[in-house]
């Protein structure tokens, strides 16, 4: 294998953007769309606008294609993101209710909140969320008959839903600091950390969560998306 010459490299759109485009498109669109943008880049943009502006054009149009056609033909990035954000909003409302509303309404509702922190409820909640990620994969496979689309749909829905839940936590923990500071696990966490105060402890925890938990959740979403895709395939097999 020979490495491309520098002259040849200058004719090429940004590789990362092209790879992203190739990875996100379904088999039907992949070759023609990547080829169209590469052709426009080489034949018009590079000679007329120069490398920087050509690269900017390319990246902008890759983003527009991902937005409209991403995650495979029929399995749109926009649709998966919308489902993920919708799930995130529902989960965020639940987070707000259990962390802020129930503890402050009355002593009885505060006891409900403590009861809902019990292991079986938390496990059931996570199973429900995982089921929804799997359903995203199921729906994507039914639309496209592609496992890749099912995996991407699960991952995108998981990423969008978990990112919005984490942002909700950041928001309510900072706005309602006095309420969340009473939570035993937060007090314990602060005592066992080097953070100077509760706000610093909470925000440090969130930064760690974004960097560590979010990628893990995205992978988990991909796994459940694949399981959903497998279920759709089995169901299709039974139906035919």
């Amino acid at each position: 294998m020979t490495l491309p010459t520098s002259a040849a490299r200058r004719q090429t759109p940004p590789r990362w953007a092209e790879a992203l485009l190739r990875a996100a498109l379904g088999a039907k669109d992949q070759e023609s769309v990547v080829g169209d943008l590469a052709e426009e880049y080489r034949e018009s943009l590079l000679p007329e606008r120069g490398r920087l502006r050509a690269d900017l054009w390319y990246v902008r149009h890759v983003a527009s294609v991902l937005w409209h056609l991403g995650a495979g033909s029929g399995g749109r990035l926009r649709s998966d993101l919308t489902h993920g954000l919708a799930l995130g909003i529902v989960l965020s409302l639940a987070v707000f209710a259990t962390n802020i509303l129930l503890p402050v309404l009355s002593s009885r509702t505060a006891r409900w909140e403590q009861a809902m922190d019990a292991e079986p409820y938390v496990t059931a909640g996570w199973l429900f969320v995982a089921l929804l990620w799997g359903m995203a994969g199921f729906a994507a496979f039914r639309r496209t008959a592609e496992f890749g689309a099912a995996i991407r749909a699960g991952a995108i829905v998981a990423l969008a839903s978990m990112a919005s839940v984490m942002l909700t936590f950041v928001l309510i923990d900072n706005v309602f600091l006095d309420i969340v500071s009473r939570q035993p696990e937060k007090i314990w966490g602060l005592q066992h950390s080097y953070a100077p105060n509760m706000r610093a402890y909470i925000n440090h925890t969130f930064v760690k969560s974004f960097l560590l938990v979010l990628p893990v959740m995205t992978v988990a979403g991909a796994v459940f998306g694949a399981l959903g895709g497998a279920a759709a395939r089995i169901r299709k097999g039974f139906a035919s």
Partner: protein
């Protein structure tokens, strides 16, 4: 009466009529941009082409690639009979709406 085409759908279908045998993605994008007089997102054109194909208003086939595209195939689009009917219908509806009025409208500024 079938569903009325949107303006962008009409622009894409008319681009296919004008380009005839040369209607592949990049050419359609440039033609639509030229006719609308503004930059158009490539994703919007591809999504519209896909939607029109799903509605059986157009058809597509793969053609040979060129060195500028790294040898990747072009997808050529052609308008179907249903697409022609839909365009004629859209034009008739627009003309009906304008009937009895003089273009450009004046006196409302």
């Amino acid at each position: 009466m079938a569903e009325i085409l949107g303006t962008f759908e009409q622009a894409v279908l008319l681009a296919l009529v004008r380009l005839a045998n040369d209607a592949y993605g990049r050419a359609v994008l440039k033609e639509v941009q030229a006719r609308l007089g503004r930059e158009v997102a490539a994703g919007a054109v591809y999504a519209t082409l896909e939607r029109l194909e799903d509605k059986a208003l157009i058809a597509s086939r793969l053609g040979p690639g060129t060195p500028a595209r790294g040898g990747r195939a072009r997808r050529y689009y052609s308008i179907a009979a249903a697409g022609i009917r839909a365009l004629n219908e859209a034009k008739a509806v627009a003309e009906g709406l304008w009937q009895g009025l003089t273009w450009p409208l004046g006196g409302y500024q």
